[in-house]
């Protein structure tokens, strides 16, 4: 049974310049224990996806519709109160971008991690502390970290605390939004190993959001490439990396420099689309090296060139529909 089934999720914001179509009709499925790598560059709507799923909607949200099914339960119909009581952190937890500022600066770190236990499981402070120390040990944090303040910890340690916090209620599904973007290379590698180990041991399904496709391959079983508020390509890690179908994925892979092999890196001309009034038809067409006339006029269809691999591109759709 699917852990997460999203069908036609829309999320638009109202800003000074007009309506931003951050998530413009996205669908995806995640199996239990499966890691979906959500890859996309700045302004492609990947962070909005995470806010949409956890319903942490900013005040200026305009449209929020579509279907999100978590373990068979439709979440969109829940009221905010129900969402907060039953879903938030118990079913879906999150590691935010830049763990540096995710911890309350004036409270000790331990009690913050214990909070979900105290609130959702009505656990006593001491009993919650025992569980926190247990998970601290799992993520490689010394017990005395419990009584430390955020500003006394290094970048890597803060990262581990935030991961521990996300797993404290042992939720079936975790969203990680660029968890390692602010970390050094060696700490980033340590964190990725930690996440891999936890994914195996606890069989957690997750969405791993990153702009770096190489980093995504380090943990994702399945990958979805986002551009201009759409998932332009989705498939298994092997399919997307070894035989990318969508021109954007192709170029993205080509412009990622390889350390272990020698291939002159390429680049994509132009800049990401303006989400307030995106280009007509396929919104990648201004930068696409395989662009055809039809791409400029009509939205690309969803096609399945291979089993399990989905692409939104006219190269694979039949034109006379």
């Amino acid at each position: 049974m699917m852990v997460l089934k999203i069908r036609d999720l829309y999320l638009y914001y109202q800003t000074l310049r007009g309506e931003v179509k951050a998530v413009d009709g996205v669908s995806l499925d995640i199996e239990p224990g499966e890691a979906l790598g959500l890859v996309g560059e700045s302004g492609c709507g990947k962070t909005s996806m995470s806010l949409g799923i956890t319903r942490l909607l900013p005040k200026n949200v305009e449209t929020y519709k579509g279907s999100i099914e978590l373990e068979g339960v439709e979440l969109m119909t829940l009221t905010n109160e129900q969402y907060r009581n039953d879903v938030n952190w118990q079913k879906i937890s999150m590691v935010f971008q830049g763990a540096m500022n995710s911890l309350n600066p004036v409270l000790k770190v331990g009690p913050q991690v214990a909070e979900p236990l105290v609130i959702h499981r009505e656990m006593k402070e001491e009993q919650a502390k025992v569980e926190v120390l247990e998970i601290f040990d799992k993520v490689g944090l010394p017990p005395e970290t419990y009584d430390r303040y955020a500003h006394e910890l290094s970048g890597g340690m803060k990262q581990r605390v935030v991961v521990a916090m996300a797993l404290i209620l042992n939720p079936p599904f975790v969203i990680l939004d660029e968890p390692t973007s602010a970390l050094d290379v060696s700490i980033q590698a340590q964190t990725m190993n930690l996440l891999k180990r936890l994914k195996k041991e606890r069989d957690i399904a997750m969405i791993f959001i990153t702009h770096d496709i190489a980093l995504s391959s380090d943990i994702s079983d399945k990958m979805a490439v986002m551009y201009g508020g759409h998932i332009v390509e989705m498939g298994s890690a092997e399919q997307v990396i070894l035989s990318p179908k969508h021109p954007y994925t192709e170029k993205l892979l080509a412009s990622t420099p390889r350390l272990r092999s020698y291939s002159q890196p390429d680049f994509i001309p132009g800049a990401p689309p303006d989400l307030v009034n995106p280009p007509t038809g396929c919104n990648f067409h201004p930068r696409c090296h395989m662009v055809m006339d039809i791409c400029r006029e009509r939205d690309p269809p969803t096609c399945y060139p291979e089993e399990g691999q989905r692409v939104e591109c006219w190269l694979y759709g039949d034109k006379n529909e």
């Binding site: 109202q14 000074l16 005040k59 200026n60």
Partner: protein, 478 residues
């Protein structure tokens, strides 16, 4: 960081309060300009704080527009002057003036007074006779008989008197008038009131009233009164310029008067330019000192920064008013002392704020880029640091203005204001000292305070309007 000025201004205009603030400021400047043009600069010493100037004004009376609300009709203040005279000789030579005035009220006027100006005589000094005829025909002969004092010996005729300051008789205070009235009452109504009793009861009821059944002078004789002024002269070339008869009203002008008879409207108007002057001079000086020190200490760092910081700490921990009182009391109560002290205390807060902003601005990489391209610190401070801090400095300058106005008002209220420059605070101080609040003279207490509030408010509204513009994080969520 990249917001353009146009964005900023459009943001400023959206909030209603900022528009109101700007409108208010325009009005304030308008009034101040009018006052500066029409008032003499030594208004404070020559007029406001000189009691004689206000002698002919009613004392402690509410504004006349209060009439529209109250059923009781109060007499208007009347200043009746004429220079039309007629020389007549029947036995004795006299110069006659005639003044008529209407009285319609339910309460007696507050006082009466007579003045004569520009007298020239060659021989024995003339004698002035006043006769008042009431609308009901009853006449008070020789209400006043005043002889002009002999000129000092050694002066040659023609003797010219009463040109700058007129001969003035305050009727309630003159014994001659009391006796005349006592005589009139005796002959007309056979009343046995002695002059002393008349003084205590107030002349006005007899001048303008008529006795009811029990002989009480309660009802007012309404209608047209006639005052005949006969100046008995002893030389045909004697001349009289003009005469003035004042009927003290129970209401006066737009803002009423205080217990010294001063027209509050005049005083309050003069307060506008003074308040703006104090406000702007203080805030400009404070801002200049604060920003220069703030930018230098923020940008230069090192010992200079350390020194300025320590001084700011000391100044910032001093309570403003007590020190202000102490210094003004010691150094003397003049406006420049007040301003210097306010500036001396004001700049430290601003320096600390600007220093923190400059420290932040200094982190921007284009500062280091300029350093790397060889630009001098002065160049960088002027072209890169200042433009970023300028909007904030401007807002703080506007924010300081009300602070200075309120501080001066507080000082004036404690009696430490500069007497040569009447301000709203001083008017309120006089009001408080004379117990106006207990007498219920609201027109003496409410308007000056309101003006202080309104003047301060318009600056505060503008500063608040500018704040989100200057500090985008504060921008109100749409």
């Amino acid at each position: 960081m990249g917001f353009s000025a146009r964005d900023a201004l459009s943001e400023f205009w959206t909030s209603r309060t900022s528009k109101m603030g700007v409108a208010l400021i325009v009005i304030l400047f308008g009034i101040s300009a009018y006052v500066l043009v029409s008032y003499p600069l030594n208004f404070g010493t020559q007029y406001w704080n000189k009691p004689q100037h206000w002698a002919d004004y009613p004392k402690g009376v509410p504004p006349s527009w209060t009439q529209t609300f109250s059923s009781v009709r109060k007499p208007e203040h009347m200043i009746l002057t004429t220079d039309v005279s007629e020389k007549r000789t029947r036995g004795i030579m006299t110069i006659d003036f005639n003044i008529n005035f209407d009285l319609r009220a339910d309460i007696f006027p507050q006082f009466t007074s007579f003045s004569l100006s520009d007298l020239t005589f060659y021989d024995t000094p003339p004698i002035i006779h006043l006769t008042l005829t009431k609308p009901d025909g009853s006449k008070i002969e020789d209400l006043l008989v005043e002889s002009v004092p002999y000129p000092p010996s050694g002066q040659e005729p023609p003797y010219v008197k009463y040109v700058e300051s007129p001969l003035r008789v305050y009727m309630p205070g003159s014994p001659a008038v009391r006796n005349a009235i006592a005589g009139y009452l005796r002959t007309e109504f056979g009343s046995t009131l002695t002059p002393l009793e008349i003084r205590n009861m107030g002349l006005e009821q007899f001048l303008f009233g008529s006795p009811d059944e029990e002989g009480e002078f309660t009802n007012i004789v309404e209608g047209t009164y006639n005052l005949e002024v006969q100046v008995e002269i002893f030389h045909e070339d004697d001349t009289v310029g003009s005469v003035k008869f004042v009927v003290g009203g129970q209401v006066y002008g737009f803002m009423g008067t205080d217990t010294l008879g001063r027209d509050l409207a005049v005083g309050l108007l003069f307060g506008f330019p003074v308040a703006l002057f104090i406000g702007f001079i203080t805030s400009t000086l404070t801002t200049i000192v604060g920003s220069v020190l703030g930018i230098t200490s923020g940008y230069m760092g090192g010992r200079v920064d350390e020194l300025i910081q320590r001084v700011c700490d000391v100044l910032n921990t001093l309570p403003q008013l007590p020190i202000l009182i102490f210094l003004v009391f010691i150094l003397g109560q003049n406006i420049w002392n007040i301003i210097v002290v306010l500036v001396f205390f004001g700049w430290s807060g601003l320096t600390i704020l600007i220093r923190s902003m400059v420290l932040q601005a200094k982190q921007e990489q284009f500062i280091e880029a300029s350093i790397a391209s060889g630009a001098s610190s002065r160049w960088i401070m002027a072209r890169h640091i200042f433009p970023q801090v300028a909007p904030f400095i401007f807002t703080q300058m506007i924010f300081f203005t009300p602070g200075a106005i309120l501080a001066e008002a507080a000082l004036s209220f404690l009696g430490l204001g500069d007497p040569t420059l009447p301000t709203w605070g001083q008017i309120l101080e006089r009001g408080f000292q004379t117990g106006a609040i207990f007498l219920g003279y609201w027109w003496w207490i409410i308007p000056p305070g309101l003006l202080i509030v309104v003047t301060s408010l318009c600056f505060v509204f503008i500063a608040q309007g500018l704040e989100p513009v200057v500090n985008p994080r504060l921008r109100r969520m749409r």
